[in-house]
Symmetry: C2
Subunit: 133 residues, 2 copies
């Protein structure tokens, strides 16, 4: 699978956060979405680190959107949630067992690059606003 639960939970949570006036707490979100609280909290922390969310500590704290929905790309969300850009096939991960010896110089490499570009472009063009229309 290209996306893991981290991206799913991030997107589901962001849809609620963007429709809320007040900061939304991780616990409240976890209840509304039936998602494990600790796991969701970790994911939201990641989004905050990447500047997608602002986090407010302490009483009545929680998470709020920093930018407008139309200014947040799905790519940035997924990268923040997954910790890396979603890969079609990550050769670098197999650098020591690449059948071809030198990464990027095999016969299927051009196909993989093209495919990855398609995916990247698709995610970069889409905004948070777009997907909830």
């Amino acid at each position: 699978m290209l996306l893991t639960r981290a991206s799913e939970y991030a997107l589901l949570a962001l849809d609620i956060i963007r429709n809320s006036e007040k900061p939304k707490g991780a616990e409240q979100l976890s209840i509304e979405l039936s998602i494990p609280k600790s796991f969701l909290a970790k994911i939201l922390q990641g989004l905050a680190k990447e500047g997608i969310l602002e986090s407010k500590k302490g009483a009545h704290g929680g998470f709020v959107l920093v930018k407008k929905s139309s200014e947040i790309s799905i790519a940035s969300i997924v990268i923040a949630a997954e910790g890396k850009t979603p890969a079609v096939f990550d050769c670098s991960q197999y650098s020591d067992t690449c059948p071809n010896g030198v990464i990027g110089s095999c016969t299927i490499s051009p196909f993989l690059v093209t495919f990855q570009n398609k995916v990247d472009t698709f995610l970069q063009k889409l905004t948070l606003e777009d997907i909830f229309k």
Copy 2:
């Protein structure tokens, strides 16, 4: 990752097979590609089952293409290699823990469907011949 080593090995092997006159044995392929023989054999067996390759047992046996390269879609190869169509995010796998209760009715579902369609279409349109141009 969307694709696993099974797809990588399948595509690398198919490029050699299609350029060979005689049947190519799993062992020979595994040597040329520096791929574990048993693992590659399993993958080639899968391709044979799906009608992408023909397998010839016994001495001087091996694998040959059934159709022309231009008549084999990358989608069919990947599906044969992976045992399933490559999923952007497989909700059905999480049917019992779907935060939304009913699969396909959440706010992000339309996005996932669109994304999956993009991937499917891309792979269906490409043929084995295309990617080695």
